[in-house]
């Protein structure tokens, strides 16, 4: 393992210290292990709190700031945060209007956020939970823990965050967050596995000419292995899965996220976007906005995910609203 670290046990804490040093507009609470807007709590504003395992940066700490999250709780690498952390963050940013928890659908995240929400209720903080489960590589059935939360998390946090920033009420902010999730579908490929600092070796080995199809963001293997094919064909297959799961009609308008998983160069992400734009144009879908880059990552995994979210005027307006965070910044 070659990484720019000191001790594997200190990676999360030392990275948080770096985030705090780089961004004085954020408040990093080392004891409570959360990142918050320095100006939180804001009286009367619905607060957005998210969190999950570390290793997905800039998600979630990099999305804290005006127009997006009020606080983020980073767990150990690929391990959900603990209820105490989530409770501390929720109390720290609650402005009296309630707190929305944005939770990716993984067993550990769901359990820890559920325990935290129960504890928050005991202390008089009202919590609404928005569950993100956009990854269509997983069947939504009794045979699985349900679809995973992946790329759509960014869109949920951006759009619901904008609604909260302009004064939306708790139920409204949660409702638009759920609408974004329901309108989204994602699919991912990996060329190599990421290496967690504690394990010291890649989560799985792949032969030179094979890829993992339908991977998540925690280094877990995908649904199956296939031979590597040209990007054009991989994009076609991913879009088939996405549009099968959440069909789009001619003339539908979408936001597209081409997201690198940490070890994929931008030149490949743009190549993929080019293929994707051609295919969607042929299907008469209008790409209203697009985002290309590394946003929801899996350490140093070489791979990418594609997210397609159907939008209306209201969702587009909220997407375009100002956002000022380390990882996403426009309009301000």
């Amino acid at each position: 393992m070659k990484k720019f670290i000191n001790d594997p046990a200190d990676v999360v804490a030392e990275a948080l210290a770096g985030l705090a040093a780089a961004h004085p507009e954020l408040r990093v609470d080392a004891a409570g292990q959360y990142v918050a807007r320095a100006d939180a709590p804001r009286a009367g504003k619905v607060a957005l709190v998210s969190g999950g395992g570390s290793g997905h940066e800039p998600l979630h700490g990099g999305f804290v700031g005006p127009g997006m999250l009020d606080a983020a709780c980073p767990g150990e690498i690929f391990t959900s945060p603990v209820p105490d952390q989530i409770l501390a963050a929720s109390k720290a940013v609650d402005g009296g209007a309630g707190v929305v928890h944005v939770v990716k659908n993984y067993t550990g995240d769901v359990m820890n956020f559920q325990l935290a929400a129960e504890m928050a209720a005991d202390e008089g903080v009202t919590v609404e939970t928005v569950l993100v489960d956009d990854d269509v590589a997983v069947e939504n059935s009794t045979w699985t823990a349900g679809r995973r939360g992946t790329g759509a998390t960014l869109l949920v946090e951006k759009i619901a965050g904008a609604r909260a920033e302009e004064g939306g009420k708790l139920a409204e902010v949660a409702a638009i967050g759920r609408q974004v999730n329901e309108s989204s579908a994602s699919f991912a490929y990996a060329l190599t596995a990421g290496t967690t600092p504690s394990a010291g070796r890649p989560g799985f080995d792949l032969p030179e000419d094979e890829i993992e199809v339908g991977v998540g963001i925690h280094g877990e293997p995908g649904r199956r292995r296939e031979k590597l094919r040209p990007a054009k064909q991989l994009v076609e297959s991913a879009l088939d899965a996405i549009l099968d799961a959440k069909p789009r009609g001619r003339g539908d308008r979408v936001i597209v996220l081409v997201n690198g998983l940490g070890g994929t160069p931008l030149i490949e992400l743009y190549l993929v976007y080019g293929e994707l734009a051609k295919i969607l144009a042929a299907k008469n879908l209008t790409i209203e906005r697009r985002l290309i880059g590394n946003y929801v990552t899996s350490l140093d995994m070489a791979g990418l995910s594609i997210t397609v979210t159907r939008v209306d005027d209201e969702m587009l307006r909220l997407w375009d609203a100002p956002v000022v965070t380390p990882g996403l910044r426009w309009g301000a």
């Binding site: 603990v82 550990g108 045979w143 823990a145 394990a199 925690h218 280094g219 877990e220 649904r223």
Partner: protein
């Protein structure tokens, strides 16, 4: 069971998990994300520290403290699951010490119910339940047949080990391994494996204390 044995069981579990950390991580890397050994080692080390720092009049308090510590320190799914199991075990026991083997039998079933309620897993889903349920059943059957704690704990340890081994052929239906579908078969479940360590530690400690 006396307070000292309860604490000894938790400490022995911490040692067993630390000694098997690499194996648990290897099993988890095959069908999960490869951190089960590291996370449980971290969690049970915190349990041992919390038990060192506290003083306990009742057996139940030991398990409630251990469970609360796991929930607060581990994260992931294993923290809430093992934490809730131990908390429910502790709460199900009568106050004070000692508690009888049949108290413990009821407590182990309360722990199982907590895991099933929180995780929604049924036997056969390739989870902790597949080791915990046979262990709790074997413990209860042994006690009903007149066995004392050491013998019942031995039966539970054996049943947990066999239950964990039997998860190899199962297809996961809960947790992260479920994303693999059929590919999860052929690998022993790391959670069931750590549960087998927990019951082995109980058997060793109960046997040692006579």
């Amino acid at each position: 069971m006396e307070v000292d044995l309860a604490i000894g069981w938790m400490r022995a579990t911490a040692d067993a998990v630390a000694a098997s950390s690499e194996e648990l991580t290897r099993l988890d890397a095959a069908i999960g994300d490869g951190d089960h050994g590291v996370n449980l080692t971290r969690g049970f080390a915190a349990v041992a520290a919390a038990l060192d720092a506290g003083s306990f009049a009742g057996v139940g308090e030991v398990f409630v403290t251990a469970g609360s510590t796991l929930i607060s320190k581990v994260g992931g799914a294993s923290g809430p699951l093992y934490g809730s199991a131990l908390r429910s075990l502790g709460k199900a026991l009568p106050p004070g010490a000692p508690v009888t083997a049949s108290d413990l039998a009821a407590g182990l079933h309360a722990g199982l119910e907590a895991v099933r309620k929180l995780g929604g897993a049924e036997p056969g889903d390739k989870t902790i339940v597949d080791a915990w349920k046979p262990a709790a059943d074997a413990f209860e059957a042994a006690v009903a047949a007149g066995a004392g704690l050491p013998e019942a704990a031995g039966e539970a340890a054996r049943a947990a080990r066999e239950g964990a081994r039997a998860t190899t052929d199962l297809r996961a239906r809960k947790g992260r391994a479920s994303y693999l579908g059929e590919r999860s078969a052929g690998h022993q479940d790391p959670g069931a494996t750590s549960t087998a360590l927990l019951f082995r530690a109980l058997s060793e400690q109960a046997g040692n204390s006579g």
